[in-house]
């Protein structure tokens, strides 16, 4: 580990204790079979069943807008700040910029993460930006930048979609003009079994080829973000090997999943609007 002068450093070399547990001799195939049995998953969900989502706004009082999402055990918090001048920019841009930062807490995953952003986090930041760029009315704040920070407290799979969904709610909460509400969902595919909203183990198993009877089937993870009322896809990200049919099917599944999420978000935002309006009239 490189020495960080601005933090307290531990000993030079540390290893996670999970490396020294009783050897896990199960093959990937067995592990996967344990996860999915008789059309049921280890947490008793159906294959295409989304985990329960809780969403709350206004958690970060210091931010302009914020949202906290719990999707199963996955917990993500997103905050949005007022537009500010873009640092170190000299040219004029007609459209505002979106700055996204996606970060896992050091303790959010099984393996400890570093304080600095790693490549995965940087990629997720870029994907978030991509999803939100076309959602926000950027022409409303030319030459300014809106900062969006997503922080994962606990990663149990599908953290990126949770972050994008929460970011959409946080933006609406912050009063940043948007073309539409945005929701996102994740789908894992392994051996032609599709798992909606995979948990962290499922996601891990879907990300690598697991041979079944010596053959390697289609496998991968898809993250898709949708704008609800215009029925547009604002971001699509896929890893793994998938056939064309798989992708079309997956898009259908994900589209439905997104549509199911929308009422929840709408309900929450309407509640929020009603509440603030009530407070306002009381103040007067």
């Amino acid at each position: 580990m490189p020495v960080d002068h601005k933090r307290i450093n531990g000993p030079e070399e540390t290893v996670p204790y999970s490396l020294f547990t009783k050897l896990n001799t199960k093959s990937l195939q067995q592990q996967f079979k344990e996860q999915v049995r008789d059309e049921k998953r280890s947490d008793n969900r159906l294959l295409l069943e989304h985990r329960k989502i809780f969403i709350k706004t206004g958690l970060v009082s210091q931010a302009k807008g914020s949202a906290y999402i719990e999707q199963g055990k996955t917990k993500v918090i997103v905050s949005v700040f007022d537009p500010r001048e873009i640092p170190n920019r000299t040219d004029y841009s007609l459209k505002g910029e979106i700055y996204c930062e996606f970060k896992f807490a050091t303790f959010s995953c099984t393996k400890r993460r570093l304080h600095q952003q790693d490549t995965e986090e940087k990629q997720y930041s870029a994907l978030m930006k991509q999803a939100l760029d076309s959602t926000v009315c950027r022409h409303e704040f030319p030459n300014f930048q809106v900062d969006i920070y997503a922080f994962v407290l606990h990663n149990d799979g599908s953290a990126l979609s949770a972050a994008i969904t929460a970011a959409g709610v946080a933006l609406a909460h912050a009063g940043v003009p948007m073309y539409d509400l945005i929701v996102s969902a994740t789908l894992g595919i392994q051996q032609n079994i599709k798992l909606l909203d995979p948990s962290v183990t499922e996601q891990w198993l879907c990300e690598m080829p697991v041979p079944l009877d010596g053959k390697v089937g289609n496998q991968g993870v898809i993250v898709m973000s949708m704008l609800q009322s215009h029925e547009q896809i604002s971001q699509f990200y896929q890893v793994g090997n998938l056939s064309l049919e798989d992708i079309t099917d997956s898009i259908k599944i994900l589209e439905n999943a997104c549509k199911e999420l929308i009422p929840l978000i709408q309900k929450h935002l309407v509640k929020h609007v009603l509440k603030t309006m009530k407070n306002k009239s009381e103040d007067k």
């Binding site: 459209k95 950027r138 547009q232 699509f236 992708i247």
Partner: protein, 423 residues
């Protein structure tokens, strides 16, 4: 990058005054051209802690050690790290905790002087091959910058290394026991030879050569000539000037180095004696002994010397010219220039000193800058955005780039796609 904020600018007036004075064989502080400022070496209570002043330039050096695994390329050698810090106390434009060109340059020169010349016997620092060696760390803090940091720092570094003692280590076969200073007498380092840096500044393309430049002289000088004597000699930074002048100067530097090393050795001996006598040591003792310094007094001394030294230096100058010829004949035997190197961008020395850029070391700017550029790969997005301008609003519709996917999507999202096409 060192910020230019708070940096003193040398005015043309000052420059001209300096050069004019030199033409009359006078230096601003009344020294002769080849006269060095007074050296003072004090040791702290800790081993390897040394406080050196060269005139008003002051430097603190401290050596520390710990046990480390050796580098795989040198499994039986200890490690010596040198780190020079331009403490913001030394000058207002120095910044804490930030590497500037000057500090990098000084660090490199000191490393050349002490490490590359193998002044310290690193092999004696090995405890167990491939596993445990002593890693020495030499921290040099510049406390007051009145010119010629390098000489001062090199003296402090050498004195600190020569003064330092490491704890004794014994082995009982398997385990190593590190004895505290109280349990067993600590062991001094093996110093193979004593290299010190001697700096001359050169004016008017070699017309005037000044030993131990002070701050203003340093800022105005055309070039520098630095020797590190004892093992290797290196020279650098010069505008085209005559070989005989180089050799002459090198020669003078050699004799100067001898005196300096002698001084260091004496200082250490004195300190050792006092330690043996169990006299209380440390900086606090030195503070008590001396009266409060008076800065006004200083100035008057300076003025006094002004008139007196004037003639002296002229005499000296004559002597030098006489001596020059002799020395040239002797050079080949006494002095060997093994390495002539222009550090940084050599050509930088040719550029006349800019008044705003009083700092000679910035010559290497252009080279270092490249390191700062980072190439970032941005993952290619799978999605392309198409602006639909018809509605007047700046709306964007997203279409999947991949043609196959697009058709699939069209089937699925028949309605929307048709919508898009219609508009």
């Amino acid at each position: 990058m060192m910020s230019s904020v708070r940096k003193a600018i040398v005015s043309n007036c000052e420059k001209k005054f300096l050069i004019k004075n030199l033409a009359e064989w006078t230096r601003l502080d009344g020294r002769a051209f080849d006269e060095f400022r007074e050296i003072q070496i004090e040791f702290g209570k800790d081993w390897g802690c040394c406080y050196v002043s060269l005139g008003k330039t002051k430097v603190l050096a401290q050596v520390s050690c710990e046990i480390q695994q050796p580098k795989s390329s040198r499994p039986s050698e200890g490690i010596l790290n040198i780190n020079i810090e331009l403490n913001p106390i030394a000058a207002p434009h120095f910044e804490a905790g930030r590497q500037s060109d000057l500090s990098v340059q000084l660090n490199r020169l000191l490393e050349k002087c002490l490490k590359d010349s193998k002044a310290v016997d690193l092999e004696s620092l090995c405890i167990k091959m491939n596993e445990k060696v002593w890693a020495l760390r030499l921290d040099i803090n510049v406390l007051n910058h009145e010119g010629n940091i390098l000489d001062c720092a090199s003296i402090a570094a050498l004195a600190a290394l020569a003064h330092f003692r490491r704890p004794d280590v014994t082995s009982d076969g398997e385990e190593f026991i590190i004895h505290s200073y109280k349990q067993r007498d600590p062991i001094p380092l093996v110093i193979q030879h004593y290299p010190v840096c001697i700096t001359y500044s050169i004016f008017n393309g070699g017309e005037f050569i000044l030993a131990d430049p002070m701050l203003l002289e340093e800022n105005v000088a055309d070039a520098f000539f630095i020797d590190w004597i004892e093992c290797i000699q290196g020279t650098l930074w010069f505008t085209p000037w005559r070989v005989d002048v180089i050799l002459n100067t090198t020669n003078k530097a050699a004799s100067r180095a001898e005196t300096v090393v002698q001084l260091i050795k004496e200082a250490i001996e004195q300190d050792n004696e006092r330690r043996l006598e169990k006299v209380e040591l440390g900086f606090h003792k030195a503070v008590e002994a001396k009266p409060v310094e008076n800065s006004i007094g200083d100035l008057s001394i300076c003025i006094d010397q002004w008139s007196v030294k004037h003639k002296k230096s002229k005499k000296k100058k004559n002597k030098l010219t006489e001596g020059e010829e002799k020395i040239i004949k002797e050079i080949s035997e006494t002095v060997q220039v093994t390495e002539i190197e222009a550090l940084g961008v050599g050509s930088a020395a040719l550029v006349p000193q800019d008044s705003e850029d009083g700092n000679r070391w910035q010559a290497s700017d252009s080279e270092n800058d490249d390191d700062d550029v980072m190439v970032v790969d941005i993952p290619k997005p799978v999605i392309e955005t198409v602006d639909i301008l018809d509605t007047g609003s700046e709306e964007e519709i997203v279409v999947i780039l991949n043609a196959d996917k697009k058709t699939k999507k069209e089937e699925k999202e028949n309605k929307t796609m048709i919508d898009t096409i219609l508009t």
